[in-house]
C-alpha cells in the first residue's frame, strides 16, 4: 500500500499563536505522510490542534499571530517557506479544503455558480466563458445538485445545509486536486445528510483518485471512512494506527478512553458510561511531560517519568500502530484489548 507516491509530507510541524494571554502551542512536532488516493483521518477533541493543522497545510493561519516551524511539502513546494505566489498556485489546484460549516463557508453575496466558476478560472485563466460554464454545470451535476443550470444562478442562502456542502465540495474539486482536506465536513449536518455527504466524498475519491485528509471528532465517521488514523491530544499525535487496529487494540490510554466513551454509547444497555475524567488542558499552559498525564489513570505506574519526559511516537502493539506513551507495550495492549471487546 505504502508503495504509492506520497502527495503530502509533513515534518515536525509546530504552530503557535501569540495571544494577549500568552503563547498558545496549538500543534507540536507533528509529522505524517499522505499517499496518493489514501484516506487519513485525524481525530481529536476541541483544542487538540486538528483544525490548526488543517489550516497550516494550506498556510491559511493568520500570518500575523501564527508562527509555524517544520516543513509541509506539497508537489515539491514547502508551503511554510514558499513565496505567496507559489502557495497561491497550490491552493485550490493541488490541495483543496472543505470546511465545517457550509452555512458560513460560501460567500453570501455571489451566486453559487459564480463561486464555482471563480475557483476554476483562477487556475485556468485561458478558459473561455463557455468552457467555464460547462465546467460549473459538470461539477454541480457531479456533486448531485438537481437542476444545475437553474440553481447555478441562485445564492447560497437558497440552498439547504447539505446542498451547500455539496457546493463547497464542487468548489474544492473543480481543479482535480491531489489532496482534499476535509475539516469536520459533516459535523454541522444532520445524520441522514451526513451519510449522503460522506458517500459522495468517497465516490468522488474513487473517481478522481485524490487523497483525503479527514479531520473530525467523530470516531464513527473515522471508522466508516478512514484507512489510517492519527489521534491528536493537546497539539500532539498520541497514536498513529491503521483504522482496524485502532478500534481493536488502541495503544494509547487516551485512545482507549475516547473509544470507550463512544463504544459504551453504542450499546443499548443503560448504566454508567466510561469516561475520561477531567478536562483537556489549556494550550497556554501545557502540563509537563506527557500532556495527558493529569487525566491518565496509569501515569502513576511509571513513577515520575510521565510528568517529566515527553513520550515519543514509537511502534507499540500491531505492525502499524505507533503511540506516544511511556507504559510498557504489554501493559498498553492489555488495556487496549479490554476496550476492543
Amino acid at each position: 500500500m505504502s508503495s504509492q507516491k506520497p502527495v503530502l509530507i509533513v515534518e515536525n510541524l509546530s504552530v503557535s499563536f501569540a495571544t494577549p494571554d500568552g503563547i498558545v502551542h496549538a500543534v507540536n512536532d507533528l509529522s505524517f505522510v499522505l499517499h496518493e488516493g489514501e484516506t487519513l483521518g485525524i481525530v481529536g477533541e476541541s483544542g487538540s490542534g486538528k483544525s490548526v493543522t488543517a489550516a497550516s497545510l494550506m498556510r491559511l493561519n493568520n500570518s500575523v499571530t501564527a508562527t509555524s516551524t517544520g516543513r509541509v511539502v506539497v508537489a515539491g513546494v514547502d508551503v511554510l517557506s514558499a513565496s505567496e505566489a507559489d502557495v497561491r498556485r497550490l491552493r485550490g489546484s493541488e490541495i483543496a479544503m472543505v470546511f465545517q460549516d457550509p452555512m458560513s463557508a460560501l460567500n453570501p453575496y455571489y451566486t453559487v455558480g459564480y463561486q464555482i466558476a471563480e475557483a476554476y478560472e483562477v487556475h485556468h485563466p485561458e478558459a473561455s466563458k463557455a468552457q467555464v460554464n460547462a465546467k460549473v454545470l459538470e461539477m454541480m451535476t457531479k456533486v448531485g445538485i438537481p437542476n444545475p443550470a437553474q440553481r447555478a444562478d441562485e445564492y447560497p442562502h437558497q440552498f439547504s445545509g447539505g446542498m451547500r456542502q455539496r457546493i463547497v465540495i464542487a468548489i474544492a474539486l473543480v481543479n482535480d486536486p491531489k489532496i482534499l482536506i476535509a475539516d469536520e465536513p459533516t459535523t454541522a449536518l444532520d445524520v441522514t445528510v451526513q451519510a449522503q455527504i460522506l458517500d459522495l466524498m468517497l465516490a468522488l475519491q474513487v473517481e478522481n483518485g485524490m487523497a483525503i485528509l479527514l479531520i473530525t471528532h467523530d470516531l464513527g465517521v473515522i471508522a466508516e471512512v478512514a484507512r489510517d488514523v492519527l489521534v491528536m491530544y493537546a497539539g500532539r499525535v498520541v497514536e498513529k494506527a491503521d483504522v482496524e487496529d485502532l478500534f481493536e487494540i488502541p495503544t494509547h490510554p487516551y485512545s482507549w478512553g475516547l473509544l470507550g466513551a463512544v463504544a459504551s454509547l453504542e450499546v443499548s444497555s443503560r448504566g454508567h458510561l466510561r469516561t475520561i475524567e477531567g478536562t483537556p488542558p489549556s494550550l497556554l499552559n501545557l502540563p509537563s511531560g506527557c500532556a495527558f498525564h493529569p487525566r491518565c489513570s496509569f501515569a502513576s505506574e511509571n513513577g515520575s517519568r510521565c510528568t517529566t519526559e515527553t513520550p515519543l511516537l514509537v511502534q507499540k502493539g500491531p505492525k502499524h500502530s505507533f503511540s506516544a506513551c511511556h507504559l510498557p507495550v504489554e501493559r498498553i495492549v492489555e488495556i487496549g484489548q479490554k476496550v476492543g471487546n
Binding site: A55, V64, A105, N107, Y109, V122
Partner: protein
C-alpha cells in the same frame, strides 16, 4: 421586488403625512401670533387683524392645515383684489418675515446645502473608508493606532469647534485661503471651491471618523469569516479576496448608514452653514426659528423629513441589492 418598493413608498407617504400633521400642530401651538409678526413694531391692531384674515390664521387649526396641505399640491392664493398674490404649487406658505414664498426661499438655499452635502459626503467616504481599510490591513501597527486616535478625536469633537478650528488655523493663522464667501459655482467655480473647501473638510473630518471605525471593524470581522478563508483556499489573490470577499461584506452596513447620514445633511447642516456663513437651508431654518417665521420653519422641517424618509426607502432597496439574503423574491 416591485411590490416591495410600492409598499415601502406607500408607507413613506403615510409617514410624511403624519410628520406634516405633527410639525404643523407643534409649531402652531407655539405661543406666538404669526399675524403679529407680519408687520413691524408700529403695528396697528386692525392691520394685524387684516393680515390674519389674509394669511388664513383666523380659521380653525384643522382648516389651516387643510389649506397648507392643499397648497403643496395646487398652490395657494393670498389676499384679494390689488393686494392679491399667490405662491404656486408646491407651496409651503408665505414668509412675512422675508416677504417671499417659502418654496422660493427653499429653492434658493437648497443648492448651497446640496453642494455642501455632496462634496462633504465624497470627501468623508474617501477618507473614512480609506483610513478604515488601511487600519484593518495593518491591525495593531502604527497605521491602526493612528486611525484609532483619529476616530476617538473625530467622534468626540463638536462641529462648531472643528469648524472654528479649521477656520482659524487655515484662514487666520496660516492665511492660505481667504475667508469663505459663498458664490454659486455657475458664476465663479474657483471662488466657489475656495468657499466650500473648509466646510467640506469640517464635515468630512467629523463624519469620516465613524466610517473609519465602521470600515475597520467590518473588514476585520469579515476577515474571520469562513467564506473569506475559502476564498483564500481557492487560490485567489489577496486583492481579489479583499475586494470581492472582505470589502463586499464590510460595505453593506456602511452603505446603509451613509445613506441616512447624507440625507440628514441634505436637510441642512445648520452648524456648519452658520460657522462658514453659507446661505443654505440650515441657515434659513435657524433664521426662521429666530424670527418665529412659522411657514418657513414648517417648510424646512418638512423638506428635511422628506429627505430622511426617502433615504430610508432607498437604503432599504439598496440593502436588497447589496445583500441577496434580504432580497425579496
Amino acid at each position: 421586488m416591485f411590490l416591495f418598493v410600492v409598499r415601502r413608498l406607500f408607507f413613506a407617504v403615510l409617514l410624511l403625512l403624519a410628520v406634516s400633521v405633527v410639525t404643523y400642530l407643534l409649531f402652531s401651538a407655539l405661543p406666538v401670533d404669526p399675524a403679529a409678526l407680519t408687520c413691524g413694531k408700529n403695528c396697528k391692531p386692525d392691520i394685524i387683524a387684516a393680515n390674519r384674515i389674509r394669511l388664513g390664521y383666523d380659521k380653525s387649526i384643522v382648516e389651516q392645515y387643510w389649506l397648507f396641505l392643499k397648497g403643496i399640491f395646487v398652490g395657494r392664493d393670498y389676499g384679494m383684489g390689488q393686494a392679491a398674490f399667490s405662491c404656486p404649487a408646491p407651496s409651503f406658505g408665505y414668509s412675512f418675515a422675508q416677504h417671499e414664498c417659502v418654496t422660493t426661499l427653499i429653492g434658493r438655499t437648497f443648492p448651497v446645502t446640496a453642494y455642501l452635502s455632496i462634496g462633504a459626503f465624497i470627501m468623508w467616504m474617501i477618507i473614512g473608508v480609506g483610513s478604515g481599510a488601511i487600519a484593518a490591513l495593518n491591525k495593531g501597527k502604527w497605521q491602526d493606532r493612528l486611525a484609532n486616535a483619529f476616530t476617538a478625536v473625530g467622534v468626540s469633537l463638536p462641529t462648531f469647534y472643528v469648524g472654528l478650528l479649521v477656520l482659524f488655523s487655515v484662514v487666520i493663522w496660516l492665511g492660505i485661503l481667504p475667508f469663505p464667501d459663498y458664490v454659486s459655482p455657475l458664476e465663479d467655480p474657483i471662488k466657489f471651491l475656495n468657499a466650500m473647501i473648509l466646510p467640506w473638510l469640517t464635515l468630512a473630518i467629523l463624519s469620516a471618523a465613524s466610517y473609519t471605525r465602521l470600515t475597520r471593524n467590518g473588514m476585520l470581522e469579515a476577515m474571520n469569516e469562513d467564506f473569506v478563508r475559502l476564498g483564500v483556499a481557492k487560490g485567489l489573490s489577496r486583492s481579489v479576496v479583499l475586494r470581492k470577499y472582505v470589502m463586499r461584506a464590510a460595505m453593506v452596513p456602511i452603505v446603509t448608514i451613509a445613506g441616512l447620514d447624507f440625507a440628514s445633511l441634505l436637510g441642512g447642516a445648520i452648524i456648519t452653514e452658520s460657522v462658514f456663513s453659507l446661505p443654505g437651508m440650515g441657515k434659513l431654518a435657524i433664521r426662521s426659528v429666530v424670527e418665529s417665521d412659522l411657514p418657513v420653519l414648517v417648510g424646512t422641517t418638512l423638506v428635511s423629513a422628506v429627505f430622511i424618509v426617502l433615504a430610508n426607502v432607498i437604503v432599504d432597496i439598496m440593502y436588497g441589492v447589496l445583500d441577496p439574503r434580504v432580497r425579496v423574491k
